[in-house]
């Protein structure tokens, strides 16, 4: 039943935008239709149900953590809330991300989509944007949840509330990057392997500082070059870890946020281009 609904949605969307005859901007509209469809699909798959778990977690933390943390409940709530945001987001990015394309192929709904004038790149980017929209809703609701928990434990306005939002933005950028990575792997690999590879990218991305240290400590020039190359080529996710400073009321400098945003956008563009390249050569027979 769900598969049928999905087929209908995708076909409906493509037909609608085929009819719209928007010329040059038609590509954008087609991608947005696929994105909205991917978002609807995520909602139907109950992806946003993780918010319930998140709310329960924060509620429990707000009530009980004061007893355990020696008066540090505000810091713990920010750490816990933002870490849960990253963790839940990572799971969504990985497990939903790797299934975005695979499910369409598995259920053969991809044939219905490509029987319409939809490019493979448009399809891929549309799917990507749809999941990014899901993640955006997720992090926004979670950000509001953390703010409400802070209001509750402080008994009114808390100066930490505005300082968490730049960290939320950085988490979202990290999740966008991870989603792109998941999509890239899923464009040529099985979901299980893609999930594993994406998770490893997440791990390595947070170890990037160590890669640099490793490169410096290497004796041979070749190994030094290799690790330095890895440091620069792999996504540097450590730049997006601003949870701990946010819990101390620190915000990143505007220049830093701008630079990391730009880096994320460039990196996403590169990954999506690579994914499109691989996906457009893929034979579905």
């Amino acid at each position: 039943m769900n598969a049928q609904l999905r087929t209908l949605d995708t076909a409906e969307a493509t037909t609608h935008y085929e009819k719209s005859k928007l010329g040059g901007s038609g590509s954008l509209w087609r991608m947005s239709a696929i994105a909205r469809n991917a978002f609807r699909e995520a909602v139907r798959d109950r992806v946003l149900y993780n918010l319930v778990l998140f709310v329960l977690l924060l509620t429990a933390a707000s009530i009980f953590i004061g007893e355990l943390s020696g008066g540090q409940e505000r810091k713990v709530i920010v750490d816990l809330g933002l870490s849960a945001m990253l963790l839940f987001g990572m799971f969504i990015a990985i497990f939903v991300g790797v299934g975005l394309v695979y499910k369409e192929i598995e259920r053969r709904t991809i044939y219905a989509v490509f029987s319409k004038p939809v490019g493979r790149g448009e399809f891929l980017i549309g799917k990507y944007l749809g999941l990014c929209l899901t993640l955006l809703v997720n992090v926004l609701v979670m950000g509001v949840g953390v703010s409400v928990a802070l209001l509750y434990v402080s008994g009114g306005w808390d100066p930490l509330i505005p300082t968490i939002w730049p960290a939320v933005l950085l988490i979202y950028l990290e999740l966008m990057l991870l989603t792109a990575v998941a999509l890239l792997f899923s464009s040529f690999s099985s979901p299980a392997l893609s999930a594993l590879l994406t998770f490893l990218t997440f791990v390595i991305g947070h170890f990037s500082a160590d890669l640099k240290i490793l490169a410096v400590s290497m004796g041979s020039t070749g190994a030094r070059w290799f690790f330095t190359g890895l440091y620069y080529l792999l996504p540097n996710l450590a730049n997006y870890s601003f949870i701990t400073p946010a819990a101390h009321g620190r915000t990143p400098a505007a220049g830093f946020v701008l630079a990391t945003t730009l880096y994320a956008l460039v990196y996403i563009a590169v990954i999506l281009a690579a994914a499109t390249l691989i996906f457009s050569r893929r034979n579905f027979k």
Binding site: G70, D79, L86, S241, T244
Partner: protein
């Protein structure tokens, strides 16, 4: 009843009865196990602080919180198991060998987390003063704007009787932008009258005012009560001395000094005995002209 239904009921019964049996077996095994001294055994940390930081993958703040809470639970559990009087700033009898690695890990994971340093300064100074100094110094270096940590480092030196070092540390803290004026005053006070009661009062008052940790505040409050009590006992001894000089003997009961108590403004109980700051009556050592805290009733630290 059909066979399928009977099978379901049997399986259900096996689950319920089996679980109940397993629970009962656990109880009996627990009873058979020889009791262990909770203070004698300590699990060790699986990870050292550097590895913990490396594998925290951006969740280092949360991991630091976890280690911090674990430190509190660890100390709390030890205090709970200890039979006898215990003070936060003198936990030498508790064998807190995991406290240093726990606080070390918490502060390595989140170097800006002030409370573990503060806790180390207060709790560790009696157990392992070198570690207390090292951890607090680590905090001062990682948080150059946290004058509060200089206050705590100065406190450790003061407890050790190193008034020169304590004074220098307060002076260092006073240079930090935003440090209160009393830090500079403490620098001078420690140099001129490091071991005095008024210096102790000043230090504990500031600790009580500045600390966000309830246990540290309570410890400071108890010390302030102890200082109040020391002042009261000095006053009472003067009264007892004056009574002895006047009558040639020591009073047999507090009633004999009732008039004189009014000048000291010490609250009295129904029997006329003066009350210490925790509300317990002082004990008069009849015949010796000496006053003491009641070890059974008072909440004030005896030493």
């Amino acid at each position: 009843m059909n066979e399928e239904r009977l099978k379901s009921i049997t399986l259900g019964l096996v689950v319920v009865v089996g679980l109940a049996g397993a629970a009962l077996m656990v109880r009996s095994i627990d009873a058979l196990r020889p009791p262990v001294d909770p203070n004698a055994i300590d699990e060790s940390l699986y990870l050292n602080e550097k590895t913990a930081r490396r594998i925290s993958l951006g969740f280092n703040g949360l991991a630091a919180d976890w280690y911090w809470m674990r430190s509190l639970q660890y100390v709390g559990k030890k205090i709970g198991n200890y039979e006898g009087d215990i003070r936060l700033d003198d936990l030498t009898n508790l064998n807190l060998k995991l406290l240093v690695p726990l606080l070390e890990t918490a502060t390595t994971l989140d170097p800006e987390f002030i409370e573990p340093y503060e806790y180390a300064a207060v709790v560790l100074q009696a157990i392992d003063v070198q570690q207390a100094i090292r951890l607090t110094e680590k905090g001062v270096n990682a948080n150059p704007n946290a004058w509060r940590l200089c206050h705590h480092l100065g406190y450790i030196y003061w407890r050790q009787g190193q008034y020169q070092l304590a004074s220098e540390t307060y002076g260092r803290g006073a240079q930090i932008p935003g440090a209160p004026a009393w830090m500079e005053a403490m620098k001078a006070k420690l140099l001129s009258e490091g071991g005095s009661r008024s210096t102790a009062r000043e230090i504990y008052t500031r600790m009580y005012e500045q600390s966000s940790d309830e246990q540290v505040r309570e410890m400071a409050r108890m010390h302030l009560l102890q200082l109040d009590s020391l002042d009261q006992r000095d006053g009472l001894r003067k009264l007892l001395g004056a009574y002895q000089a006047r009558t040639g003997k020591c009073p047999e009961s507090w009633r004999e000094l009732e008039q004189a108590f009014r000048t000291l403004r010490i609250p009295l109980d129904q029997s006329g005995a003066p009350l210490d700051p925790s509300g317990a009556p002082y004990v008069l050592k009849a015949g010796a002209c000496e006053v003491e805290l009641d070890p059974k009733l008072t909440k004030i630290p005896l030493k």
